[in-house]
Amino acid sequence: MLDIKNLHVAVGGKEILKGLTLSIAAGEVHAIMGPNGSGKSTLAYLLAGRTGYDITQGSVTYRGEDLNTLAPEERAAKGLFLAMQYPVEIPGVTTLTFLKTALNAQHRARGEKELDAMSVLKFVRKKAEALKVSEDMLKRALNVGFSGGEKKRLEILQMALFEPKLAVLDETDSGLDIDALKLVAEGVNALRSPSRAMLVITHYQRLLNYIVPDRIHVLAQGKIVAEGGKELAHELEAKGYEHIAGKAA
């Protein structure tokens, strides 16, 4: 699904990722853990294609294609989804309008039939219930005045609607209390599937109690410094990043 080889990425001329190698197969859930400034969000933005994040060395292959040749909206249409750490507000555009616009843009790009307003509403309602996304949220302007929990739930709702092949979740746990975290994690777990890969990025082990990964990679100073199974998260929690990163260095 995703093959990252010796990836070096610079932001504003400064190298942030310094030789990252990572491979995720369909059906797998991988976690990337790391301290602040280790390059976690840089990886997320690079995968999604944000301008200003440049590959200086190495490669990223997504489903057999060189990811670097695809525009961000093409990546989305081809099934790459990034649940953002800070979902943005768009005043005056209702959540439902946004969802319809995005769904149809992706459909169009894939040469599929566009959905009318009624079909979109039905589809959204069906998925929204489990995530406790209310009718009221759908009518309000996108993310405007939403609580932290509402914003994150809406991100997962979009993931459910777009049915991506590869979902990258950037600090989805940040700003959530325990109940909100459980709700979001359940939403994510419901989307686990043999045909879908996920990359969960987090600072804390807490999220991984609810979304249990197949593999954990520890990122420090732009490189993977440790890898292991789900038990690695507990070791990190007990001993701290410095211990693991130090051991690797």
Partner: protein, 456 residues
């Protein structure tokens, strides 16, 4: 083609009046305006820059335009058709707009006929102003020039001297006009020429909603447009006037395009009357336009909702004037200015509360949105309060389309241009909501089209 001699002289004015078969009083009115115009100077206070206009090097009357009818859409500029398609204009309407000869399949004649019957039944007069001058001289004499006097300003006075045609509407006492009036349904409306004159009178307790213009682009060769619109609302009457203006804005390098110098004013003459202006201005190289309300009666209400988009090298200097004369008068101004490319967009507004206007209230909100780093947004509010009980509020914001907003849309699969259109439509929502339904849909699409190529 038959046209007046080049340049502007008394002879030109007489020629136009004769062509229109006008009564003597109308000719005298025009001549008075022309004499006055010769004493006037072109205003320079607006934040717009253009080559000096040579008024003697233009034709002021060229009609009827016997442009040969095209036989099919194949003969029409493909770029124009592309825009029609993006706007979702039905095929038979496209043909009418592009000047293609249409056969019996086109039902506009029958639409217009049913239209006329309904209006007749209600007693509403809706006709070309040239016709009204002949058929309803008393009404025209009573109201023409009473809101925008012949001497009002350089461009209005010019219009008074040489206006070629326009629209007249009269809604009788207590009548609620049974439909939205639109020039689209008036045959030959597209041939009214560059100096349009519109007069709308709503008698006591009546209501009318009028839609001006068409969302389809008008590829007009005429450089200068100087229209005058006068609205009169008598006691308890309400007039809603909506405009979508999409004239040729010039090319990406700022060549060509319409100079649009318009005087629009409404007079809330009777107590408890209301006038509401809504405008979506996306076209023209230069827009100079300040639809205003004179709140003369007590308890009158004036509203102004505006979206002005300037892209590439367009210049827009637009806003409103709310003149509070009566007691308990209220006005509301919502202005959304969007600048992209190297364009300049200025909101210029006046809120004036006269000494006798006790308890006048105004609320003004001016929001500017910038796309890119080379455009400009300017807000010039003038406020005069000469009654201590006046309450005037003014809010202004300036923002940019943020990178993270664009990236968020892209990540969800929405392409750059659609994303800009989506964000800008959200920004304009309060104004778009004021438009009649069928207009609003096209206006939303137009917002997107006007900003194509403005990012990236």
């Amino acid at each position: 083609m038959e046209r007046a001699p080049k340049g502007l002289s008394e002879e030109t004015v007489r020629y136009i009046s004769a062509k229109k078969d006008e009564p003597d009083w109308m000719l005298q009115w025009r001549l008075g305006a022309f004499a006055r115009w010769q004493q006037m100077r072109e205003p320079t206070w607006a934040r717009v820059h253009y080559q000096k206009i040579d008024y003697q090097n233009a034709y002021y009357y060229a009609a009827p335009k016997n442009t040969p009818k095209k036989q099919s859409l194949d003969e029409v500029d493909p770029k124009l058709l592309e825009t029609y398609n993006k706007l979702g204009i039905p095929l038979h309407e496209q043909m009418a707009l592009a000047g293609v000869a249409v056969d019996a399949v086109f039902d506009s004649v029958s639409v217009a006929t049913t239209f006329k019957a309904k209006l007749n039944e209600a007693g509403v007069i809706f006709c070309p102003i040239s016709e009204a001058i002949r058929d309803y001289p008393e009404l025209v004499k009573k109201y023409l020039g009473t809101v925008v006097p012949v001497t009002d300003n350089f461009f209005a006075t010019l219009n008074s001297a040489v206006f070629s045609d326009g629209t007249f509407v009269y809604v009788p006492k207590g009548v609620r006009c049974p439909m939205e009036l639109s020039t689209y349904f008036r045959i030959n409306a597209s041939e009214t020429g560059q100096f349009e004159r519109t007069l709308i009178v709503a008698d006591e307790g009546s209501y009318v909603s009028y839609l001006e213009g068409c969302t389809a682009p008008k590829r007009d060769e005429n450089q200068l447009h100087a229209a005058v619109v006068e609205l009169v609302a008598l006691e308890g009457a309400e007039i809603k006037y909506s405009t979508v203006q999409n004239w040729y804005p010039g090319d990406e390098n700022g060549l060509g395009g319409i100079y649009n110098f318009v005087t629009k004013r409404g007079d809330c003459r009777g107590d408890r009357s209301k006038i509401s202006w809504t405008q979506v201005e996306t076209g023209s190289a230069i827009t100079w336009k300040y639809p205003s309300c004179i709140l003369r009666g007590d308890d009158t209400v004036g509203e102004f909702f505006s979206i002005a988009i300037a892209n590439n090298f367009q210049q827009a200097d637009t806003g409103t004037k709310m003149i509070h004369l009566g007691k308990n008068t209220r006005s509301r101004i919502i202005s959304k200015g969007i600048s992209a490319g190297q364009a300049n967009n200025t909101y210029r507004g006046l809120v004036s509360v006269h000494p006798k206007a006790a308890n006048a209230r105004n609320y003004t909100q001016c929001d500017s949105l910038l796309i890119g780093a080379k455009c400009g947004a300017h807000t010039v509010p003038y406020i005069e309060a000469r009654n201590p009980s006046a309450r005037i509020e003014h809010e202004a914001t300036t923002s940019k389309i943020a990178d993270d907003q664009l990236f968020y849309c892209l990540q969800r699969g929405i392409g750059q241009e659609e994303a800009v259109a989506l964000i800008v439509n959200g920004f304009c929502k309060e104004v778009l909501q004021q438009l009649p339904m069928e207009f609003a849909v096209e206006a939303q699409k137009l917002v997107g089209i006007s900003l194509e190529g403005s990012v990236g």
